[in-house]
Amino acid sequence: MTEIVKTEGLTKDYGEGEVVTRALRGVDLTLEAGEFTAMAGPSGSGKSTLLNIIGGLDRPTSGIVTVEGKDLGKLSGTALSRMRKDRIGFIFQAYNLIPVLTVMENAEYVLMLQGVVPQKRTEKVRSILKEVGLEGMDHRFPRELSGGQQQRVAIARAIASEPALILADEPTANVDSKTAAGLLDLMRGLNEEKGVTFLFSTHDHAVMKQARRLLILKDGQIEHDGGMVEDIEAA
């Protein structure tokens, strides 16, 4: 298996002087290509911080994080932007769609950044929108969609550029359980059919059950790595 993400001794401190909060305390993690990994843990355990650092949105205080063998700490701002654009897809809890752009325009945004010609990207995004269940909604604006539909647009946007890794920060937190199950099915389907690697954080047991690998974070450290949620509950 190809190694996609590797972190070594990752720490992250917030604040300065005496008021320092340590969000991560030496996280060592390896993700292989094609994994479908959930990350759970109480609020403040460091899940979002870890996702942000792996995604190159934030810098660690110490430690190393590599994505596809590239040390993010050594990349310039421009190279980091390029890495996010070409190799990493993001799905946010609050969808974070651009309100003035249509479904089609939101979904094809990264392709546009990559310089894909309009006709090609329209064809590609149209087929992805069909895949995520948004066929015929190309010209709608985010405000005209339900929460679940908006998150599907975010998923379409994340997978459109065919990234090596998709990071999702509590992707089902703002939708009802039925919609959450549908989104999870979609993500899992993409993982199985297209081999897209997923790392997502969640609080939801039903979501954790869908994961093939489960990480439990507590106080900025990985407390558990591997087994299914039932095993952890049993333990």
């Binding site: 949105l57 701002g77 390029r82 654009k85 974070n96 651009i98 945004y109 946007r157």
Partner: protein, 383 residues
């Protein structure tokens, strides 16, 4: 809107100055004046000039020139049974004056003089009051002729003018130039000044140069009105200075509003920018986007401002604004009566310069908010 106001008020200010100058030079010796080289130092009737008739006719044929006028300016005393007053005696060509000078069209009693009138005069309203003069009444003008001898002449009042300027209405007597030549003992075709009235004052420099070339060896200096009427020129310069401060404040307020709008629009869209950066947009491209947006908005704003400001300035240029209810009837500057109907002066220079300053400043001011688009934590903003 700011640009609209700026263009309108700057055009109005320029219009006021242009009107002021036009009124003054038409009553005096034109935009360009030919006079004896020593006349400026010590104006007196013995410093007369004789302009060849050929030169005068040639200048009058130039398309930029509306009229040429001959003037004799002297000092004297006006006397009547009621008393005496110091007076400025103006010998004028009545037909030319009637067509080009506002004074000749402000007769409130009687009629304006004509070429044949000899020795008929028109006097100001204030002078008539003080000397108890009425149309048809006699008065005596005492003055020194070109030889320095005291001369007196009995005249009859043909008309009374009222310009609104206390100085002019109490001090000026106009008479036909032929009569004044005889009064001062001056030769035929002589005058203390020859004035050139222009159709468009913007041609002053060009015509001045042409007159100087054509005049050749004539014993006269050829001056722009600014040197002949330095008081008026200084007043305009000073007033323009204070107006410049006002215009500066106006433009500052416009630019401050533009800056604030751009800054607020950037800060309001911080989350959007954070998202775009998270998706891999290059910070430089995002900054460029803000710059282009600002330039585009600036361009649209400038086009609208130029259109609305230009339209307002055009309408006031054409129809004028009557300010008589805000200004007193005897509104005068440097002793010269001014009209209370204001007109703007439109020029491509004013409009393009103002719009250009606002546009360039908009683009320049967007550089500061532009820096804000990428100087924040993506994670904190998206949280």
């Amino acid at each position: 809107m700011g640009l609209t106001f700026a263009i309108f008020f700057i055009s109005l200010g320029e219009g006021m100055y242009a009107q002021m100058v036009d009124q003054v030079v038409r009553m005096q010796a034109g935009y360009i004046t030919l006079q004896h080289p020593e006349y400026r130092e010590a104006p007196a009737v013995d410093l007369w000039i004789q302009v060849p008739e050929g030169l005068r006719r040639k200048v009058e044929r130039w398309p930029q020139v509306e009229k040429t006028k001959m003037l004799i300016l002297g000092q004297g005393i006006a006397k009547s049974g009621a008393g005496s007053l110091a007076a400025a005696i103006m010998g004028v060509e009545p037909s030319v004056e009637f067509e080009s000078s506002p004074l000749a069209r402000n007769i409130v009693e009687g009629k304006y003089i004509d070429e044949q009138d000899n020795p008929l005069v028109v006097v100001g309203f204030e002078m008539a009051e003080r000397l108890n003069l009425k149309v048809g009444k006699k008065m005596v003008i005492a003055t020194n002729d070109v030889h320095g001898d005291l001369v007196e002449q009995l005249c009859r009042v043909k008309g009374i003018f009222r310009t609104g300027s206390e100085e002019m209405d109490a001090y000026v007597i106009q008479m036909p130039i032929k009569f004044s030549r005889r009064l001062f003992g001056m030769p035929e075709r002589s005058a203390t000044q020859m004035g050139v009235v222009l159709r468009d004052p913007d041609n002053q420099k060009r015509v001045l140069q042409k007159v100087r070339e054509e005049a050749g060896n004539i014993h006269a200096e050829i001056l722009p009105w600014q040197e002949v009427l330095p008081d008026v020129a200084s007043y305009i310069k000073m007033d323009k200075g204070s107006n410049f401060v006002f215009q500066g404040i106006l433009i500052f307020l416009i630019l401050f509003t533009i800056f604030n709008t751009i800054l607020m629009s950037v800060l309001e869209r911080k989350r959007e920018f954070a998202m775009l950066l998270a998706l891999g947009t290059q910070p430089g491209k995002l900054r460029l986007q803000i710059l282009i947006e600002s330039a585009f908005l600036g361009l649209i704003g400038c086009c609208l401002g130029v259109f609305l400001g230009g339209l307002a300035a055009y309408l006031v240029n054409r129809y004028g604004i009557d300010m008589s209810s805000f200004m007193s009837e005897s509104f005068s500057i440097s002793g010269f009566a001014m009209t209370t109907k204001l007109h703007t002066k439109m020029s491509a220079g004013i409009i393009l310069t103002t719009a250009g300053i606002v546009f360039l400043a908009t683009v320049f001011l967007s550089l500061i908010p532009m820096r804000h688009t990428t100087k924040f934590s993506i994670v904190d903003t998206l949280r």
